[in-house]
Amino acid sequence: MDSISWATALPLIFMAVMGLALLAYVVLDGYDLGVGILLPFATDLEKDVMVSSIGPFWDANETWLVLGVGVLLICFPRAHGLVLSALYLPVAVMLVGLVLRGVAFDFRVKARDAHKATWNRVFSAGSLAATLAQGWMLGAYITGFQNDIWGLLFSAGIAITLPAAYAMLGAGWLLMKTDGALQRKAAQWGRGALWPMGLALVGISVATPLVSPTVFAKWFALPELFVLLPIPLACLAAFFAIRHVLATARAVDAGYGWIVFGSTVLIFVLAFCGLAYSIYPYIVIDQLTVWQAASATESLVLIGIGVAITLPAIIVYTVFMYRVFWGKAQELTYGL
C-alpha cells in the first residue's frame, strides 16, 4: 500500500485495537470488580476465597485499561485531550477507586488482623466507586458529552447499571472458581443481578437512539435494521441461557457454571459491537472522526510494528498464566 492508504487504514486499525483493549479490560477487570462488589455479602472465610480467586489476575487485568487509554493517548491525542478533559471528575473518582481497591488487596492480609475488616470495606467501596465512574463515563461518551438533563440522566442510568453487569460477571467467575456453599451463594447473587441487568440493558438500548440522533439514523434504516437484528436477538438468547443455568441447581453442580460467565461475556461483546457500529467513524461522536484525531502516520507505523509483535506475545503469556491458575481457587502463598 502507498502512504496515503496507510494514512487511511492505520487510524482504523488502531481504533480497533483500542476498542478491543477496552473490551478486554471491561470483561477482565469487570469480573474482578464484580467480585469486589459482591464481597460484602459473603462471610469472612468466603471473602478470603473470593479474593484469592482473583489474586493472580487483577494486575494484568488492569493493564488492559492502561493499553486502551494508552492507544487513545498515543494514536488519537486530540480525542484523548477532549475526552479526558470532559470526563475530569468521573476519571478522578475512578482512579481513587482503583487505587484504594488495588492496595486493599495487599493490605488486607499484611496489616494486623484487626484492620482486615476495614481493608475489606475499602476493597468493596473502591470496586463500586470505580464501576459507577466507568458507567458514568460510558454514558457521557455515548451522548457526546451533552450536559443537558437527558444527557446527565442517561449517564446516571448507565452508572447504576454497570455494577449489576459486573456483579453478574463476578458471580459467573465465582461459579467457575469455587464450589460448595460459596458456589451456591454465587448462583443466588447472579439471580439477584439478572433482572436489574436485563432491564437496564433494554433501557439503554431504547434510550441510546433517543439521546443521539446520529445513532437513531444508523439503526432505524432499511435494510440495515435486518442485518443488525441478530445483535439484540443473540443478547436475548444469552440472557435466557444465564437465567436457565442460574435457576437449575443441577446445572451448576454439573459444572455448567461457565455458561453464566460465557454468556455474560457474550452480552458485553455484542453490546460493544452495537456501540462500535453506532459510533463509527467518529471517535468523539458528532465531533471528531478517527482520521481527524489520529497522530502522524510515521508515529502510527512505529507503534503498529510494536503492537504486531508484542500483542500476540502478550496473549500467549496471558493464556499461559490462566492455565497455571486453572481450576478452583486455592489458597495463595508466596512460599513453597
Binding site: 478470603d48 489474586g55 485531550g81 495487599d106 497522530s295 496471558t318 498464566m321 495463595l332
Partner: protein, 455 residues
C-alpha cells in the same frame, strides 16, 4: 491559586507518589532474583534456610510495593489527558510511541508474570518460576528504559522537526538515545539500587534491634550492605557525569543549581546560602573560590554562564538550589553509612551469629527511606530545573495545561493528597508490622484450604 499552578502541584504530587514505589521494585526484583539463586546454590546446606526466609519476606514487601506502583501508575496515564491535553497534542507524535512501547513491552510482561512469581511456586517447576521472576525484573527495568528515554528527550530534544507547531519524528534512534538519556538511565537505575538496598538494610536492622530477626534478616542485611557499598561510589561518579552533560545542554539548570547569577570566569562553588531571586544574589553565601569552574569544567579559570543570560527562560532558583543540596547531602551520607557498615560487617564476617553493634543498626534504621529523599530531591532538580519548558527550549509548560475551573482541580488535588497521605502511612506501618512479625507464615491471600468443610 490559578489552574496552572494547581495542575502543576497535582502532577508533581501524582508523579512523586508514583516514583516512590517503582524506584523500590525495579531493584528489589533483582535482589529477589539474587536471593532465589543463592537459595538454589546453598541447597542442603545450613545456609539454605536463610536465603529462603529472605526471599519469602522480601517477596511480601515486593507484592505490596508493586501494587502501590501499579495503581499510582494508572493515575499517571490519565493525568496527561485530564490536565495537560496540550502535551500530547503537540508532542504526541514523539511521546506516544515511547509510552506505547512501555505499555506493550513492560507493563504486560511484569503484571502477567507477577501472578506466577508471587503465587505460582507450588504450581510450576522451579525453573519456570525463576523465569517468571526474571521476566518481572526485566519488565520493571524495561519500563524505566522507555519512560526515561522520553523524559530525557524532553530535556535534550533531538531528531525532530516542527510542522505547524507540532513535533514530528525524523530520527527515532536519535530520539531514543538522546544526549542526556544514558546518564539519566544510569543515574536512576543506580538510585533504585540504593533505595532498595537501604530499605532492605534498614528493615533488617530494625528486625535485629527488635529481636524479630531470623537467619533471613542476616542474609538480607549482608547482601544489601554489600550492594550499597559498591553502588554509592558508582552513583557519585554517574552524578558527576550527568552534571557535566547538563552543563552542556541545559546551562540554565546548572546556573540555578549553583546559584550563579552572573556569568563568571573562575566561578566559586556555593556550598550554602539563601538564594534571593528578587535581588539576583545569594545571601550569606558560603563559597569555595574557583571550585565551581573546577568541578564543572575541570579548569579553575573556566567561564560559567550565569542566570542573567537566560532572562525569562530559567527555572525558579531556590527550589532547584535546595533540592540539589538535599540530594548531594543524602548521597554523601549514604557513602559514609554504606562504607562504615560494610567495614563493620566485614570485621564480623567469621562470627556468623554475632549481632552488629547497636549504634550501627540504629543508624541503618535511620537511613531506611534515605533513597526516597534523595530520589525525590533529584527529580525536583531535574524537573523544576527544566522549567519554564516542557520540552526544553521549545515548548512551554504553560501552553499544555487544560482550562478547568480552579476549584475543580483543587478538589481533585485535595482528594489525591489525602489518599496518598493515608496510603503512605499504611505502607510504612505495614512494613514495620511485617518486619516485627516475620515468623507468621501469613499466606499471601489466605484461601480455600483455610475454609473448613468448604465443599
Amino acid at each position: 491559586m490559578d489552574t496552572f499552578t494547581l495542575s502543576r502541584i497535582q502532577f508533581a504530587a501524582n508523579i512523586s507518589f508514583h516514583i516512590l514505589f517503582p524506584t523500590i521494585t525495579i531493584a528489589l526484583c533483582w535482589f529477589l532474583v539474587f536471593f532465589r539463586l543463592r537459595h538454589t546454590a546453598t541447597r542442603r546446606t545450613p545456609a539454605e534456610q536463610g536465603w529462603e526466609q529472605a526471599y519469602y519476606f522480601w517477596t511480601k514487601v515486593f507484592a505490596l510495593t508493586f501494587a502501590l506502583g501499579v495503581v499510582s501508575g494508572i493515575t499517571m496515564s490519565f493525568q496527561f489527558g485530564t490536565n495537560w491535553p496540550g502535551y500530547m497534542e503537540h508532542v504526541g507524535n514523539i511521546a506516544g510511541p515511547l509510552l506505547g512501547y512501555e505499555v506493550l513491552t513492560a507493563f504486560f510482561l511484569e503484571a502477567t508474570f507477577l501472578g506466577i512469581m508471587l503465587f505460582g511456586r507450588r504450581r510450576v517447576s522451579e525453573r519456570t518460576h525463576l523465569v517468571a521472576t526474571l521476566m518481572v525484573a526485566l519488565g520493571t527495568t524495561l519500563s524505566a528504559f522507555w519512560i526515561l528515554s522520553l523524559n530525557s528527550w524532553m530535556q535534550t530534544p533531538v531528531g525532530y522537526e516542527i510542522i505547524d507547531g507540532k513535533f514530528h519524528a525524523v530520527d527515532w534512534l536519535a530520539i531514543l538515545f538522546n544526549p542526556s538519556f544514558p546518564y539519566r538511565l544510569g543515574h536512576t537505575l543506580l538510585a533504585s539500587g540504593l533505595t532498595a538496598g537501604f530499605l532492605i538494610a534498614g528493615v533488617s536492622a530494625w528486625q535485629l534491634l527488635k529481636g524479630s530477626a531470623n537467619q533471613g534478616s542476616r542474609c538480607a542485611l549482608r547482601t544489601a550492605v554489600t550492594a550499597v557499598a559498591v553502588l554509592i561510589p558508582l552513583q557519585i561518579l554517574m552524578g558527576d557525569l550527568h552534571g557535566l552533560n547538563t552543563l552542556q545542554h541545559q546551562p540554565a539548570k546548572i546556573a540555578a543549581i549553583e546559584g550563579l547569577w552572573h556569568t563568571e570566569r573562575g566561578a566559586a562553588l556555593t556550598l550554602f546560602g539563601l538564594p534571593n531571586e528578587k535581588e539576583g544574589r545569594t545571601d550569606y553565601a558560603l563559597q569555595i573560590p574557583k571550585a565551581a569552574s573546577l568541578i564543572l569544567a575541570h579548569d579553575t579559570g573556566a567561564e560559567l554562564k550565569g542566570l542573567s543570560e537566560f532572562a525569562g527562560a530559567h527555572p525558579p532558583v531556590a527550589p532547584v538550589f535546595w533540592a540539589f543540596r538535599v540530594m548531594v547531602g543524602m548521597g554523601l551520607l549514604m557513602l559514609v553509612m554504606a562504607w562504615t557498615s560494610a567495614y563493620v560487617l566485614w570485621r564480623l564476617r567469621n562470627r556468623d551469629l554475632a549481632a552488629p553493634p547497636r549504634w550501627l543498626l540504629m543508624a541503618l534504621v535511620g537511613m531506611t527511606f534515605s533513597g526516597w529523599v534523595a530520589t525525590l530531591a533529584g527529580w525536583c532538580v531535574t524537573e523544576i530545573g527544566r522549567q519554564p519548558y516542557l520540552v526544553y527550549g521549545l515548548f512551554k509548560t504553560a501552553d499544555a495545561v487544560a482550562d478547568h475551573a480552579p476549584a475543580m482541580v483543587a478538589g481533585t488535588l485535595a482528594a489525591y493528597l489525602s489518599v496518598y497521605a493515608l496510603l503512605l502511612l499504611a505502607y510504612v506501618s505495614v512494613i514495620k508490622y511485617m518486619a516485627e512479625h516475620p515468623a507468621i507464615p501469613a499466606p499471601a491471600i489466605s484461601g480455600r484450604e483455610s475454609v473448613p468443610n468448604a465443599a
